[in-house]
Subunit: 216 residues, 4 copies
C-alpha cells in the first residue's frame, strides 16, 4: 500500500503577501515516487486552529511521515528543527490578531519533543545536493513551533509509528528584495530540499550520527 | 535560616585563557544580602564530570536556587536560557579531548526541562538596570546545555523546591579584542546582572508575563 | 555601431573550487540585445596582474560599459558598489601567495572613485524584478577593490565616456552548503541581476535619486 | 607650547536620549598629559551646521589632532574609520528633520579622503589594552561621514599638518538594553579607548603596517 507523506505549509503572515512554505509544499502535492505519495495542506498562521487543522489532516490521511514547513525570514538555509517546545510566546499577533504570551501549547504536556525525522541525515543529504542546510535547535515560540509541538504531541499520544518534524526555510528572493540584509533561497531549491527531506526520511530508520551541534 | 544560592561558572575552553562565567561567579562568592548567601563553584568544561561536580555541590550545599553561568562567545547580552534539552552534540572537543555526538545527557530522561527561574522577570530587571539581556531559547548542545540539563534533571528527580536555570554571558572585552566582530560586556556589568538575577529569583515565585518570544 | 559591454569575473580563490562571479559573467558572453553585445573575461585573483589583464581587455574592446563582478562570501544579495578606494590591504594571500598590506592600488592616485554606473537605479530595478539587492559602501580592500579601483582610475585617466562599476554577489548554494550560516543565491538569479544591471546602465544616463544610504 | 587635541561628539539622534560619543568625549574635556590638552565639543546631528560648528572650533582652537567620534548602534567595537566619502545619503532624517539623499558633502570635492590618524596603530593599541577594536572601511553616508569628510576636506584645504580621523563606537549598555540583539560597550572602556587613540596618534607619525583589511 502506498505510504502517505503529509507536508504542511502556512498562509502568509506579518504583512507578507506570500509564504514560501506553502509555495514549496503545494508544488509537491501529488508527488509520487517509489511507494509514497505526498499530500500538501495549508495551515492558517493562527494559534489553535492551525493545530486543529493539522490534527484533522492526520486523522484523515493517516500519514507515515509528516513534515511541517514554515517561513523563517532572515535565516539563510533550510534549517531542520531538532526540538519542539511546549510554549506559545508570540512577539507579534497571529493572523487572528491574537498575541499569546507564555502559555503552554498543550496543558500538562511535556516540556519538549525531539523531531523523529533523521535530521542529521537530511541536513547531510541536502548539502550533498549542493544546497545550504543546517540543524536548528530552536523553532521559536510562535505558530511554527506551536504546530511543530502539536504535531509531535499527537504522534506521541497516538503511539503510532508516524514520524514527524519541521523544517524552516528562508525568504524567497522576491521577499528579500523588500528586506535589505535578509538572505533568500529560490523556490525550486526549497522544493528540491523538501524532496530530499522526504526521500531521506524514508531511507533512514535511524538517523546518521554526525556533528551538527553548537556550543551555545 | 540562611538560604543558599549556588552559582556555577566554567573553566576556560576552546583556547581561551579566561572564562567570564567563572570570573563573574567567583566575584559573588560569599555575597550576603537579606536572608541569602552565595556559594560559587567552578565546573570543568568536560562532559560528565561537570555534571557530577554540580550534583555533589548541590548535595553538599542544599541550595534554594542554582544558576549555572556559561560563556557564549559572540552573543551580545546576558541571555537567560529558557530550556535545557536532552542531547549532547559537541561541535568541538571538551577539555578532556572528547567530542560527544548525538547522545542523551541522561538516558531515558525527558526531551527537555524548562528553567524554573523567573526568566522574564530577570530579563526585565536587568534591562531596567540599564544592561542588555534577553530570553534565549537554546543553550546549545555543548557542555553548558549538558550542565543545565543535568541540573534541571536533578532538581526534578529530587522533587525539591530548588529553583534552577542557566544564564549565558558574552566575551569579556579582552577576549573580544582577539575576536574581531564579536561583542563583549564588562565583568562588572556581568556581575551586576547576576546579582539582579539572584534578587529577582527570590522576589518572584511566579514569573511575570511579558512578551519575550521569537517567530523562529 | 554595436556598443560593447565588458563584464569581468574572477577565478576561484580562498579554497573555493568555483567562483560565482565567473560563472555568472561567462553565461552572458555574447549576449546581444538592442544595440549592445556583452564580452566576458575572467581575471586572476591576483594583485597587479588582474588589473593589467583588465586594462588590456579595455584597450582591445573599447567598451562603453565595464562591470566588474566578484564573490562576496557571506553577503546576502547583489550589492552594487558605490566607491573604490586606493588601498590594497589583504586579509589573506592572493592566488600568487602574496599578501599585500597597506599599499596604494595606484601610487599618487586619488583616495577613491565613485562608480559611474547608475547604482540606485540598478538596485531599484533588481528589486523590482524580485531579487535582493542593495548599495554597498565598501568593496573591501582585497583583489575585488583592487580591480574596481584600477578600472575607475583607467576610465578617469583616459577621460573617456566609458562608464564603470562593480557588483558583489553572494555564494552559490553549493558553496554555502559548505559554509553553514552563509547566505546564497542561485546562479540564474545572479545572471538575471547582471542582465538588469546592464540594461539599467544603458537606460539611465543619470542615476535616479532614492535613499540607499546607511547611518554608519 | 601645548598641543591642542580636539575631540567631537554628537548630540543624541534617532529617538535615543543619550549619545555615547558625546558622553565619552566630554569626559576627556581638559585632559592633559605630556604636552597636550584635550578640548571636547558637541556637534548637532544635522547636515551642514555640524560641519560649520566643527570648522569654527578648528579655527578657534588650531588643534594638532582632531578626532570625530560618533555612535554606530549595532557595531560591536571601537571602529577606527579609514576613509570619508563625498556623499550625503541619509536613511533617516537628521535632527532638523531633513533627509538629504545623494548630494555631495562638498561640491567639487574629491570622492574621498583617507584618515590621517595612524589607524592600524590605534586598533593595535586598543586591542593590546584588552578592548575590542577594528578598522572600518565605511563610516556610512549620514551625519558622521558628513562631519568626517568635512573635517578631512578642511585639513586638506588648509594644507596644515593637522591630523584627523573618526572613530565609531557602539551603544552604551543602557541603550542596548532597549535594542535586543545589539552589542554595547561601557562608557569607561570607550573613554579609555579614546585616550589610547590620542596617545597613539601622537606617538606614531607614520602608521604601523599590519593586516586589517577585508576581502569585501
Amino acid at each position: 500500500m502506498e505510504k502517505i507523506i503529509l507536508l504542511t505549509g502556512f498562509e502568509p503572515f506579518n504583512q507578507e503577501k506570500i509564504n514560501p512554505s506553502w509555495e514549496a509544499v503545494r508544488a509537491l502535492q501529488g508527488w509520487r515516487e517509489g511507494d509514497f505519495v505526498v499530500h500538501a495542506r495549508q495551515l492558517p498562521c493562527v494559534f489553535g486552529s492551525s493545530a486543529r487543522m493539522l490534527h484533522q489532516a492526520i486523522e484523515e490521511l493517516q500519514p507515515s511521515v509528516v513534515i511541517g514547513v514554515g517561513q523563517a525570514g532572515g535565516r539563510v538555509d533550510m534549517s531542520v528543527e531538532r526540538i519542539a517546545i511546549n510554549i506559545d510566546d508570540a512577539p507579534i499577533a497571529d493572523n487572528k490578531k491574537r498575541q499569546i504570551v507564555d502559555q503552554p501549547v498543550v496543558n500538562d504536556g511535556p516540556a519538549a519533543y525531539f523531531a523523529t525525522l533523521p535530521i542529521k541525515a537530511i541536513v547531510h543529504a541536502i548539502r550533498e545536493a549542493g544546497l545550504p542546510s543546517s540543524v536548528s535547535h530552536t523553532a521559536g515560540t510562535y505558530v511554527c513551533n506551536h504546530v511543530f509541538y502539536s504535531l509531535m504531541h499527537q504522534a506521541h499520544e497516538w503511539g503510532t509509528t508516524m514520524r514527524a518534524g519541521f523544517i524552516h526555510i528562508p525568504y524567497l528572493p522576491q521577499q528579500a528584495a523588500a528586506h535589505p540584509g535578509a538572505a533568500s533561497m529560490k523556490l525550486d531549491d526549497m522544493i528540491e530540499g523538501l524532496r530530499i527531506a522526504v526521500r531521506t526520511t524514508l531511507a533512514y530508520d535511524v538517523d546518521m550520527r554526525e556533528a551538527g551541534g553548537v556550543t551555545h
